[in-house]
Symmetry: D2
Subunit: 242 residues, 4 copies
């Protein structure tokens, strides 16, 4: 059998310590819940890493052994060291997958990958969201129906300052009157990047079976085990006689 | 001064004869209203053409003298002759702009240009629509704010079976719970195509100043006066000595 | 084990009968060579169909049982019945993969899918071609290096009148001075379409191991076994209370 | 008459001082030649700025008064202050156009905008280049024929590590056997970015009339006089009653 896909689930991990509403839903942290449902799959091996570990848990070896990295952050984006961000970025260019959740739109790594401010509108009143599928043949939405409905979420609204996505997968409808590009793919170097809007820390989003299905699909789509793309960059000899 | 942009406003023109609600709003036809506000601009010269004229008003000469063609149709798509559709299509490839409104998503010419079924969901209860701008630097939305609000419209919902747009300009929010890609650009050959969702026959959409602004912007974006692109297609001689 | 991917290899099949140079390389037809290397894979079951069979070998049942259809045609595009083309098109929208080779750029099905003329420049002097990979992380080029070199091919040159590809995979260099977008992906409905330039009838292209590798990769990328996408298209009830 | 488009032509300006071959062609610097042909147009007002001026000549006021910034750099990318790069980036998001030439593929601002390494192959033997137009309806190539031929240039070859372009305009053919995506557009925030491959310092590229035509077209395409896009980014009130 093929080698398992190696996923590293990265989490800032602060809200779980500081916010009762979050601690209650995710007593072991969001990363534990995500890693658990990933590890329930026979073809996936997930581990976790968090901000407060040395090198944020993302040593050279961990990164080298990661096929897909998932990222959750919010209140401490600024504490992530630039040097680590640069290493993660290089690994994406070399072929590692990257999956950024929710408030990670403002993470250093996602802004570095997009080249934009990634700003957006927001509102936190627990309104209804409906994520409509607009590219039904994409591997990320295999087995998802026409839409995913979340009864209570934080709203994110346009204008979302990101580049026009390479693939636009989901568009969200919010009860309060806004829309949002909620699932967007970017290709950078040899790597695949997906931003997925859901994932607020005080709604039990990561326990939702459809959300889990999207994450599993994304991990399998983004993984390129063994990928280590090093394009020839050099003063090259002509291939033709001149 | 530069020559004016020559627009031909095409209309099926049946609802205005058969439907009181439409006749009331557009006694001279939607095409008359559209041509009027276009002709109020110093750099635009608009004329009209309708289904029931000989050759649907789209003779070879009219097409040759048209920089941008706008299209409205609904109940009689099937009556448009294939031969005329082919001529319009060829003119688009040669550089003519094409702007399809509302129910023209199902017109022969738009389906020919997209290569898809262009099917969608719909509901006609006069609910609220809000068209959010998602590409703020695009010429089509110059001077439009963050969104356009229409108090009463027909709903169109995803999945809208069109190719991923070359430029996605508007995403609509509907009160009833759906979203829709409401302003989408396609480049075909040398020509520019825009599909714009608004334009229902019994709501006074074409009299809305913001809608008119979008149409004016689109006409100026799509016009390539003098465009008559004929790429060399041949058994060509090598450019290099072999 | 998962069900095999069902491929139907379609061939016009005329050159093999009429042209000695073609007959010599492909005595059983190009379709036989293609089906053979596909059938050597444990996860693929390929059959063939040709123009001169009843319904061109593409009955409703064959189409319903096809996950990926490959298409080769050249001198007899016009003989393919429109009714069959419409059925193939519908199957693509429903999720069947489509892989068009070489001169199939002018096939009815590819022009229907693209919405353009698909015209191009050409020259048949057996010059060198080099297909450069420009999207190294794409599944279609997994295991292919930086480029594929073909010592002798027909030249196809820009301007290639197709829509801007959803994914641009290969760009060809030709010794005579031209370039060409040689590997282009389009998403239509739920289906994936790939146009691949190589495949001339009198050069043994389909016996080239790198070309075979690309075709295998494409079949696995385009296959969505069980896909039968029927989006709800209807006068729908509101999802929200209004 | 409409206000003129305000262009700032930025140049590193080192080769002109240190390299005889460059000094000979551009005794006043490349920026002077570029500004001169821009200023010959009635609708454009160009000024220059260089690395060795205070704040690299890009003060807040200069940036605020710039509709389109052109950028040439090579040997001293690292000397451009990050703070200035951040200001230029913000202005692009707010709507300023950016045109990067040749070796500016490795400039801090272009790498920030793309989110990739922007690495490529290169060779400096003065071989022939032919830039083929692959999007003939784009404003950037209005009046340019099928291709631009440069008899002697430095070669840049794929893989060019940039995101799939929002618009791909030119593909280059090189005598030595490579191809390159030589004219690529990116939309970021409200701003338009164009990377244009030509512009080597020791070939008289900026004096070539077709190259000048492309630059003029690009300036007019990228300019959005008065653009100062500040999307509402906030904790917003619901637009609908909940």
């Amino acid at each position: 059998m093929a080698d398992a896909i190696r996923v590293t689930v990265w989490n800032e991990g602060r809200h779980e310590k500081q916010l009762d509403a979050c601690k209650e839903i995710y007593p072991q942290g969001m990363h534990a819940v995500i890693a658990d449902f990933l590890n329930a799959e026979p073809d996936i091996e997930a581990r976790t890493a968090t901000l407060d570990e040395p090198e944020h848990g993302l040593t050279d070896q961990v990164l080298a052994e990661t096929d897909v990295l998932t990222w959750w952050g919010h209140m401490a984006h600024g504490e992530v060291q630039d040097e680590i961000v640069d290493k993660v970025h290089q690994r994406v260019l070399d072929g590692m997958g990257l999956l950024c959740f929710h408030s990670a739109h403002f993470s250093k790594i996602f802004r570095k990958v997009t080249g934009t401010s990634c700003s957006l509108k927001w509102r936190e009143i627990g309104e209804k969201e409906r994520l409509w599928v607009v590219q039904p043949g994409h591997p990320i939405v295999r087995g998802i129906g026409e839409y995913i409905e979340l009864p209570h979420t934080e709203m994110y609204g346009e204008f979302f300052d990101v580049p026009e996505p390479d693939d636009l997968i989901f568009i969200s409808w919010f009860a309060g009157g806004e829309v949002f590009r909620s699932g967007v793919c970017y290709y950078r170097g040899c790597g695949k990047v997906f931003y997925f809007r859901p994932g607020h820390e005080t709604f039990p989003i990561f326990k939702n079976p459809q959300i889990q299905k999207v994450i599993l699909n994304t991990v399998r789509w983004a993984a390129q085990p063994g990928a280590d793309f090093k394009p020839k960059v050099a003063n090259v000899e002509p291939l033709e006689q001149l």
